[in-house]
Subunit: 193 residues, 2 copies
């Protein structure tokens, strides 16, 4: 019984996610959140808990959606090399079309919170490890199909690609010349052979 909730939890959580993604944890105030989410302060606390719990919910929403996006992107291309190439290129293209770079919410959190909060150290690590497994499975598919050499160390290679992707995502926040990242992608992808 009682009054029914007037807001859509998923929608307002999505709005919080966007804001935390743009500005980070510390730089986002409760006032920022209420205006962006379109609900009042006590509604946030009753639905999500305090600021940090809301942040965690937002980050979990992000990582789940991100992982599924990456998985489908890599699985839907019969060519493994082509799949990685277009994936990396799209990450870059997306960043350069936005007027200012948001980068990756998980990476932002790794930098801001992981060293000071074990919960986020674990959460961000597990997301990257999960992405690494997706990469690894894709590489193994390429070995199976004969597109990649049989001697390739799929696990080590997938880890190197994840690290490169993180580096690319981060350096784009300083808006280097497009040629810088384009060159980098070409070199990184020569690891796939």
């Amino acid at each position: 019984m009682g009054r029914t909730r007037e807001f859509d939890e998923e929608k307002v959580l999505d709005a919080a996610m966007q804001l935390f993604w743009e500005k980070g944890y510390e730089a986002t105030s409760l006032s920022d959140l209420t205006s962006r989410m379109g609900i009042q302060r006590p509604s946030i606390y009753s639905a999500f808990g305090d600021k940090k719990e809301l942040f965690e919910a937002a980050l979990r929403k992000y990582t789940m959606s991100r992982a599924s996006h990456v998985r489908t992107r890599l699985q839907n291309n019969p060519s493994v090399k082509e799949a990685f190439r277009t994936f990396f290129e799209d990450v870059v293209a997306e960043e350069y079309t936005e007027s200012r770079s948001r980068g990756c919410f998980c990476i932002n959190t790794m930098v801001e919170l992981a060293p000071h909060d074990e919960k986020f150290e674990i959460l961000t690590r597990e997301h990257q490890m999960y992405l690494s497994v997706i990469f690894q499975e894709t590489i193994e598919r390429g070995i199976q199909s004969g597109e990649l050499e049989t001697g390739v160390n799929a696990k080590a290679l997938s880890q190197a690609l994840i690290v490169s992707l993180i580096g690319l995502t981060v350096i784009m926040k300083s808006r280097p010349k497009r040629s810088f990242v384009d060159n980098t992608i070409k070199v990184i992808l020569t690891l796939l052979k």
Copy 2:
């Protein structure tokens, strides 16, 4: 005329640098700064300006010292491959000996401030570009000496190595297993041939 300054500007700036490096800009308060720097609030403002100007001075101090450290590390080894290998390995070893990862102050700033403040976008970009040039000169030395193949694209390769180093530095904040980063370094360094 007037009273002489009782604190060493370089020393207190160094203390501020350490603190901003550990906690970032937003999470560091003026009270944190006064206690760590050992001077009072008005002394900070008279010597360095406001919080953001102090942060900028601290970051500039960091990037200059970091660049010179990287330069000497890479120049002091006759073997280019060996120079890069030991450099990357030491970056990792240093991170894993500290109880919690500070990473790189410039990278932290690239993530926290560069997307919202053009001054730091430029400052962080220029530091990375400078490091990239140091890498490039080192690679060119290796080509000259015959240690590396003549066909190597020194510029593109140096950019890829910078990006990889950034990725490594960032992912270590989530404390992945040591084998993860060790594998990654091995793969990345196969680009040097």
